[in-house]
Amino acid sequence: MSVPAIAIRKLVKRFGETTVLQDIDLEIPEGKVSCLIGPSGSGKSTLLRCLAFLEEATSGMITINGEALGFFEDANGRRERLPANQIRAVRTKTGMVFQQFNLWPHMTALGNVSEALKLVRKVPKAEAEERAMVQLRKVGLENRAGHYPSQLSGGQQQRVAIARALALEPKIMLFDEPTSALDPELTGEVLNVMRDLASEGMTMVVVTHEIGFAASVGQQISFLDHGRLLFSGPPAEIFAKPRHPRLEQFLDTYLDRGASMLA
């Protein structure tokens, strides 16, 4: 078997006394869409943030394409922080899309998408903007390039945020509930962009309450509950009856139109 896009080994995350993630072992396959589902507060965002190195795990190890992210842990549990440039290099393999979009309000859509190319990758301005336009076209927003975030709908802002992440050509895209801040009628345009991305073979990790999306696009579903990974597998297996009582309870709460077919 090939190296997984992401391997998570015995990951533990505590905030002070509270254990938020407990012994997570999970492999994210390359070129597939992995969905992370679970009740609110179960630790989904924290896990994704560990993958983006926005949070540092308390123990355990994450590798991305076989390279350790942030820390190296040997068999005896001895842990060592990797040098900053190495951390930076591994982090460039992932792109992140946030629930709240987090577009920079003082830059246009084009500015948001081209900024890191210019500033971090040192791409000349004209080329950076050309490459940013390619990404905006991809999410269907080339005609909004000069708009500021405040002039865009939530769905458009999230598509710009996706373009911003894609501009840096990540190997893996991380999404944290990308549609949950949107009005229901705007979720479709974002999910469609994500479907397109999936069909191009992008490795994606998606935290989502859109059970319909998870069931139809997800190729691996992982169910997190109280900081533990209760199970992980293909949708057919996860949603097959009889279900784990915690999952049954979760589905009762979050069942949407798309998931009604699973009931």
Partner: protein, 213 residues
């Protein structure tokens, strides 16, 4: 009140305006450096920045100016009055501007900084391209206010030998025995300059708003 006298006042107004604007600009740069220090998370930067801000907000500007003017020659640095004036006003306004900016920096949504972080920005790049411009937009009205305050406070630089509007008005009043028209003219000049600053500020604020949330 002859046109000759009014011209003298206007010339003095140029000193006031020049010294104030240069001090505000220098003070702004220092205030940003102080903000960066306060946000660094390292106490070797934070503590001196805090001390600086408390000192220059806590000691009267008049005393600061006199101190700079008399202290520097003692330690072997001879400065012309204009330099002492600009140094004094700059350091003072830097402290106030840093204090204004603090609220703005605190209001920058953390998610915007995280977005820069995952895109590979260094801390300095995030400060310059994300945090500072957003904090500035949020606190811009307070900055305009501070510019007006400094312009008015600049009357104090006469103590280091600068002839600005107020000093010129005093001199002219005592030499011509026409204090009322002269002081009224001085007041008018201050009023016009500060109204112009307020107006420009509002215009700039609107165009900044147009370019953000």
């Amino acid at each position: 009140m002859t046109p000759k006298l009014f011209t003298l006042l206007l010339e003095a107004a140029l000193s006031t305006l020049g010294i104030s604007l240069v001090s505000i600009a220098i003070g702004f740069v220092i205030a940003m450096l102080l903000s960066a220090a306060l946000l660094s998370g390292k106490s070797i930067y934070i503590l001196p920045a805090r001390l600086f801000i408390s000192f220059f907000r806590g000691v009267p500007l008049l005393v600061q100016l006199l101190l700079i003017y008399t202290l520097l020659p003692v330690i072997g640095i001879n400065v012309p009055g204009i330099v002492a004036a600009i140094v004094g006003l700059s350091l003072c306004t830097a402290a106030y501007q840093a204090e204004n900016l603090r609220g703005g920096f605190a209001s920058v949504p953390p998610g915007l900084i995280e977005a820069a972080d995952v895109a590979g920005f260094t801390g300095a790049q995030t400060f310059i391209r994300i945090r500072a411009p957003i904090a500035l937009r949020l606190t811009f009205p307070a900055l305009v206010n501070e510019a007006i305050m400094i312009l008015k406070s600049s009357s104090l630089v006469s103590v280091v030998g600068i002839i600005e509007i107020t000093k010129m008005a005093q001199d002219l009043a005592s030499s011509t025995y026409q204090p009322i028209p002269i002081f009224a003219s001085a007041a008018l000049i201050y009023f016009v300059i500060n109204s112009a600053i307020a107006l420009l500020g509002r215009y700039a604020e609107r165009s900044l708003k147009g370019a953000s949330a």
